[in-house]
């Protein structure tokens, strides 16, 4: 627990959160998901999910396609709002506030809970402008500060050394793996609390893939990370906690070690050992 005083609310938050969903872990819960159900029209994509997502940990969401894990992660920063037929019930408590409330400032929320997508999606602008896009919108005009944030974010995303000489070239000229790390850097520049990664490496080659994994392990020091992945071994390598989704239910949520060595549910074991999905 190494955070400092610039987010004073968090200690208070910890006390407020009911410990009900917390597993045997010493970490603080940063997102408390309570009875979360998500509907697309009449279809229930996530069914009454409960999960305490921990601070400064990597939480992996696994399960076959269509099991609801992407829907789940996209509800955490309200990206599901983009789908007109979607509707959420239940609560996701973040800093003592249910972020599913109607009167949430979604824009502010998304700058605290950043998201990186499956397909690298840099803007067709320069590398530099990709990172400053959101900063400038938030009123940061000071060139020196911007330069500094660009460098810091790129360093954190382990991309600085590769691009420092061509910051003003188009981001489209980067390789897929570099583009994805740029997307991560762009998100980090916003200083989010939580990082949501929706299959961040599935569209990349194995080398880029392992770079992203390395990066995730480093970022864990400063951020709480939720990652959706199809790749079992990736989940076992990078995550501290793992949740197994099946048909919209969370079948099992526990320490990654336990899930991969000694799952309590037969279905989890079947999935992990590759019998379906």
């Amino acid at each position: 627990m190494n955070y400092t005083a610039d987010r004073p609310m968090e200690t208070k938050t910890e006390k407020e959160i009911a410990p009900s969903e917390r597993k045997a872990s010493k970490r603080e819960v940063v997102l408390d998901v309570k009875d979360l159900s998500i509907f697309y029209g009449n279809k229930e994509a996530v069914k009454s999910a409960n999960m305490g997502i921990e601070k400064n940990a990597v939480t992996a969401l696994i399960g076959p396609s269509g099991c609801g894990k992407s829907t789940f992660i996209r509800s955490i920063n309200r990206m599901n709002d983009l789908i007109p037929s979607s509707r959420a019930e239940g609560e996701i408590i973040y800093e003592g506030i249910n972020i599913l409330r109607d009167d949430i400032n979604v824009v502010a929320l998304r700058s605290e809970i950043g998201m990186v997508f499956q397909k690298p999606n840099p803007f067709p602008k320069s590398i530099y402008n990709n990172i400053t896009h959101a900063l400038k919108y938030n009123g940061q005009k000071n060139k020196k500060v911007l330069d500094q944030i660009v460098e810091e974010s790129l360093r954190k995303a382990a991309l600085w050394d590769e691009v420092k000489d061509r910051l003003h070239q188009s981001a489209m000229s980067l390789s897929g793996g570099q583009q994805q790390r740029l997307c991560i850097a762009r998100t980090l520049a916003m200083e989010p609390q939580i990082l949501l990664l929706d299959e961040p490496a599935s569209a990349l080659d194995p080398v880029s893939n392992s770079k992203i994994e390395e990066l995730i392990l480093q970022l864990k020091e400063d951020y709480s990370i939720v990652i959706v992945t199809h790749n079992m071994s990736q989940a076992s390598r990078v995550s501290d906690k793992t949740a197994f989704f099946l048909n919209g239910d969370i079948v099992e949520y526990d320490d990654t070690k336990k899930i991969f060595t000694n799952p309590s549910e037969a279905r989890t074991e079947e999935y992990i050992s590759g019998r379906f999905g």
């Binding site: 610039d6 987010r7 003592g96 506030i97 949430i104 400032n105 824009v107 502010a108 929320l109």
Partner: protein, 308 residues
């Protein structure tokens, strides 16, 4: 790197308030919503103003609407003025249906050519040709009709050249690209499985087109024809330049004739605003408006059928 000396509480940051609301979003949304409202207002304004003006010949001048629509006697000037617009309605309908009758097979044929027979050549060459045909202004079509078609008809066919027939031909040429474009989209959007399924059963390409593809695309093809008809019905200047603009019912297709649009075009500028004759012209405008709405509803009905 602290954002500010005093960090606002989660409540202050995350719950939407006047203070943390992004006003650019509110302004932007309002701006585009106003533009959407302007479109509604424009449509309603066109309808209401033309309806109000177009009904004056019945409400102010007490013309009998039934007689107005069915009488064949159009004699708007003088003591015994008579306002029967049936010949013009007839003319409008005649040019619309006859031109659609010619343009439909040609347009659908061209669409099938582009989607089924020679897709590559169709896309690369025929498509631009058709787009250019769409782009030629209607006065140019009318002018060419006037200086080429009318003399040609006069020299080779009965009548004086200016005729219903000339109007039909000019309109056919004008709506052909419209019909072709929409029909091509319809044919191209058919799933390939339809073609493969039929060809696999040993059907020839023509059998596949006739028995499978055309029935499957029928509602969309009808839409293409209806939109072509809507264009023909509303076209004014090109028809006006070749049809002769006489007030009597044509006895044959080679007789001169007139349509609602041509009479309105020719006379609305020469009659006194507010006079009976002027008002009857506005009533024709209203009829044009109503019929163009009817075409839209037919198209909507057809597109509803398409989904099934």
């Amino acid at each position: 790197m602290a954002k500010a000396s005093v960090t606002p509480s989660a409540e202050e940051r995350l719950i939407l308030t006047k203070k943390n609301r992004r006003w650019d979003e509110v302004r932007g949304r309002s701006l585009v919503t106003i533009c959407a409202i302007i479109m509604i207002v424009a449509t309603i304004a066109v309808t209401i103003f033309l309806a109000q003006k177009g009904l004056q010949s019945f409400t102010v001048n007490n013309i009998n609407p039934i007689a107005y629509l069915t009488s064949t006697n159009w004699n708007p000037v003088g003591e015994n003025a008579s306002f029967g617009i049936f010949p013009f309605i007839f003319g409008s309908l005649a040019v619309t249906f006859l031109s659609a009758l010619i343009a439909a097979p040609l347009g659908i044929g061209a669409a099938i050519f582009m989607s089924e027979i020679a897709p590559k050549f169709g896309k690369k060459f025929l498509q631009p040709v058709i787009e250019l045909l769409v782009g030629i202004p209607s006065v140019v079509y009318g002018f060419i009709g006037l200086v080429v078609l009318v003399p040609l008809v006069r020299d080779n066919l009965p009548g004086i050249g200016f005729s219903l027939f000339a109007g039909v031909i000019v309109l056919t040429v004008m709506i052909l690209p419209t019909v072709t474009t929409i029909a091509t989209d319809a044919m191209r959007s058919l799933p390939n499985s339809l073609r493969q399924g039929s060809l696999a059963l040993g059907a020839t390409r023509w059998q596949t087109i006739r028995k499978v593809l055309i029935p499957a695309a029928l509602p969309s093809l009808l839409t293409a024809i209806v939109l072509g008809m809507a264009r023909a019905f509303g076209e004014a200047l090109a028809v006006q330049m070749v049809i002769g603009n006489t007030r009597d019912l044509p006895g044959s297709i080679f007789d001169t004739s007139a349509t609602l649009t041509t009479i309105v075009t020719l006379n609305i500028g020469h009659t006194t605003y507010g006079s009976i004759e002027n008002n009857t012209l506005w009533s024709m405008g209203l009829i044009l408006l109503i019929i163009s709405f009817v075409f839209i509803f037919i198209v909507r009905y057809l597109s509803g059928r398409r989904k099934i």
